[in-house]
């Protein structure tokens, strides 16, 4: 009972510091920031695209496209790659419209591929895409070949390493079974081939192109170390020279070091510490788990009188290795999830859940090892009965170890929790920003309007001295709003409150209609008052677009707005030739929403927008004839409800001979 309690105690203590991760490189280059930003509305066309990723991208295997609203590529200049940032000059001046940045990047850290896209607008708010305004990055899930390859690689290297360090040195079996070593060497080599094949397949490049790229070069070093280990194994098989066995172990360790250097551990600012921890982790796992396999296979070969000592020596060795695995695993795990304050990410991401599964399996393995150490090892001195129990638990450990290798193979194919979690938190719409100065150039102001749409907004203005940039010592700051195209709409004034530094803030619904507004900033100081004129066009609230396709049916585009109202539109029959554009408005209850007016605009692939003749067929249903030509058309529906609300729905549809 005491032994059981001690074994359980060891298991529980180990759970607290258990090997939480052996992230043998789990890198994904996710988009960290961009200029322009997703969903940004620019008043002037940008001259370049700047994309910064969480991992350095491999420029030879990555691609970035800028598409206009018709899906045509906009010519980009030669990319400049600096660390994690790619800068691409835009060769031409962009006209007003919606543009999509489509990127597909291979991480230079270890070759994983991610892809996504985002839109921005020039002179207008970007139209929502069919997948919504928050595109999520996609990355191929770890394929079966990838997991199989890593499993074979890890298992092979562990057995090659521990053949000399455990089988020969600890257990005293200087001639381990040849078939095991041959299998281990073959597994390591085959695993590398399978893993590289899976990687280059996911990237879509040839093996030569992948291995000659910055992302693939580390794999060549791993291959060199594996080949050297295989050659040493062959030499041992032929000569039984112990030096060849030790050489095989040495080069297996070399492959582990190459894997550590070329992986995610090397990507951060503390790379020296992380790479060292990673390498120590791999060595300790190889000794511990590889040693378990060797003990299971070789126990019968050890002379009965020497078995208890051999088992005790291995138990001590495994205990030390386990402590190293646990300590280095915690270091690596905290790095992958972003620090101890982000433990919640264990349950927020695929990476986290896989890690939890690996922790649970490791806990079971540690408990089994503890049972062997404190219960079965002492029993081996009592003869065959004790040995049988030891072998049973060793077999269980072998099963669990194999499961850990499989989970590690899966883990290293997933985005680390720190970057996946950051990507999963979508940002809200970017505020409208406008700047100005007074006529005498004594004051500069930058006004940010959130969310920047018609209706209620938060206004934050930073008022500084024009020359020095220092905060102006203002006593009062206010904004006067005037609708430039609607003089009947009375002007209004919003007084702002002092926030901090040079910033004054206020909230209000002054921009109540879709119009171009003049904002006159009035800054009062002890010396007098200064006006800063600015103009802004608020965005019209756009909704969430859902696209419904079914065989034999026109494609339905349903835009749902924040208040629950919606517009359902479709083009029928949906092929080149005479068509009808239908648009129906619904209130939040699903009943017809009567409209005060509607405009239906169709923009053909080759340019000029067509204002369609919208015929009312009921209070909330309008339709118009439109002659469709092959290509991608854009449709804009702007409806005005009787309550004064503006509903703005947009979608694109491709029409060709097979579509509709």
């Amino acid at each position: 009972m005491r032994r059981l309690g001690r074994a359980a105690f060891v298991g529980l203590v180990a759970a607290g510091i258990v090997e939480a991760a052996a992230p043998w490189a789990a890198a994904h280059a996710l988009l960290e920031s961009s200029r322009p930003e997703a969903n940004e509305t620019l008043q002037a066309a940008p001259s370049q695209l700047v994309l910064t990723f969480t991992e350095p991208p491999d420029p030879t295997l990555s691609s970035i496209h800028l598409l206009d609203s018709s899906g045509t590529d906009v010519r980009l200049g030669t990319p400049d790659v600096s660390g994690r940032t790619i800068t691409l000059p835009i060769a031409s001046t962009l006209a007003d419209g919606t543009y999509t940045v489509s990127w597909r990047v291979v991480s230079r850290t270890d070759g994983h591929v991610t892809a996504s896209s985002f839109a921005f607008g020039v002179g207008q708010a970007p139209a929502p895409t069919a997948t919504g305004s928050r595109p999520e990055p996609t990355s191929p899930s770890p394929s079966a070949l990838s997991v199989l390859g890593k499993w074979l690689l890890y298992a092979g290297l562990a057995l090659l390493l521990s053949a000399a360090l455990v089988a020969a040195s600890v257990l005293g079996v200087t001639r381990p079974p040849r078939w095991v070593l041959a299998s281990a060497a073959s597994a390591a080599l085959l695993g590398w081939v399978a893993f590289v094949t899976a990687q280059r397949s996911a990237i879509g490049a040839s093996a030569m192109a992948f291995l000659s790229s910055a992302a693939g070069r580390p794999y060549l070093w791993i291959a060199a170390a594996i080949v050297a280990s295989v050659v040493s194994t062959i030499a041992w098989l032929a000569t039984k020279d112990r030096r060849a066995l030790w050489a095989a172990a040495f080069f297996a360790a070399g492959a582990m070091l190459a894997r550590s250097i070329g992986g995610h551990a090397d990507a951060g600012s503390l790379s020296a510490i992380e790479v060292t921890a990673q390498f120590a982790h791999l060595l300790a796992v190889g000794i511990w788990i590889g040693g378990v396999i060797w003990l299971l296979l070789l126990l019968g070969r050890i002379a009965p009188l020497r078995r208890p000592d051999a088992v005790r020596r291995f138990s001590t060795t495994a205990g030390i290795a386990l402590a190293v695995v646990a300590a280095t695993g915690v270091i690596r795990a905290l790095d992958e999830i972003g620090g101890p304050t982000h433990l919640g990410r264990l349950f927020d991401t695929d990476y986290g859940w896989t890690l939890v599964a690996k922790i649970v399996t490791s806990l079971a393995l540690i408990t089994a090892g503890a049972w062997n150490r404190y219960v079965n090892v002492p029993r081996t001195a009592n003869g065959p009965a004790g040995e049988r129990s030891l072998r049973r638990v060793l077999t269980a450990e072998a099963f669990l170890a194999a499961g850990i290798f499989g989970l590690t193979g899966l883990l290293t194919g997933l985005p680390p929790a720190s970057s996946a979690s950051a990507q999963a938190a979508p940002s809200g719409p970017r505020p409208l920003a406008v700047t100005g100065s007074d006529f005498a150039t004594t004051v500069r102001a930058r006004l940010e309007i959130s969310p920047g749409t018609v209706g209620p907004n938060r206004f934050a203005v930073r008022v500084v001295d024009y020359d020095t940039g220092e905060a102006v010592d203002a006593e009062r700051v206010s904004i006067r709003f005037s609708a430039l195209s609607n003089p009947d709409v009375p002007s209004s004034t919003l007084r702002l409150g002092y926030a901090t530094g040079a910033t004054w803030v206020g909230t209000g619904s002054a921009m109540s209609i879709d119009d171009r507004w003049e904002l006159l900033l009035n800054v009062e100081t002890r010396a007098g008052s200064t006006q800063v004129p600015m103009e802004v066009s608020p965005r019209v609230p756009t909704g969430r677009l859902e696209v419904t396709r079914a065989e034999g049916q026109p494609t339905l585009y349903t835009t749902t707005f924040a208040d629950g109202s919606s517009i359902q539109a479709y083009v029928d029959p949906g092929g080149p030739g005479p068509n009808q554009l239908h648009a129906t408005a619904f209130d939040p209850n699903g009943d017809e929403l009567p409209l005060h007016g509607i405009s239906l605009i169709a923009i053909p692939p080759d340019g000029e927008a067509l204002v369609l003749d919208a015929q009312p067929f009921s209070a909330g249903h309008f339709a118009a004839d439109v002659a469709i030509t092959p290509g991608t058309w854009r449709f804009e529906i702007r409806a005005l409800s009787h309550a004064g609300g503006i509903l703005d729905a947009r979608f694109s549809q491709a029409f060709d001979g097979a579509d509709g």
């Binding site: 997991v147 696209v547 009943d591 249903h621």
Partner: protein, 147 residues
Amino acid sequence: MTTNRSRWRSAIAVAALALTLAAAACGADSGSGGPASPAATTRPSSTAKLSILAPENGSVVPGPSVDIRLRLEDARVVKPTSSDLQPDEGHIHVLLDGKLVSMNYGLEDTIRSVAPGSHLLQVEFVASDHAPFDPRLVAVSSFEVKT
């Protein structure tokens, strides 16, 4: 004997490792990484039958106004537009020569100012939200207008 048992244990260990490997590989293969497809909301179907009583297919009718009479079985035409779809309620869309001329809330209508010559009349019984049923319920009639 000892050697045979050792080999058996070795074989069992390797087989166990292989089985676990297969399980891990299968687990990794579940869940695709492909992009999500658009929503596949199914349009309702209807057992209604729609036919054109006038103008009959192939007939010659005097213009310029053309009277249309339809028959709708197992369903009824309703006036309200709603997203609450019923298989036996909807509207009638009328197209003449590919152009939408009316959305009827009854089964009779008159199309005015139809030019002399051949014309194609298409009528469709659509759901209450003005989008088609699945399969679509369409009737057509080809006729000639003589002044």
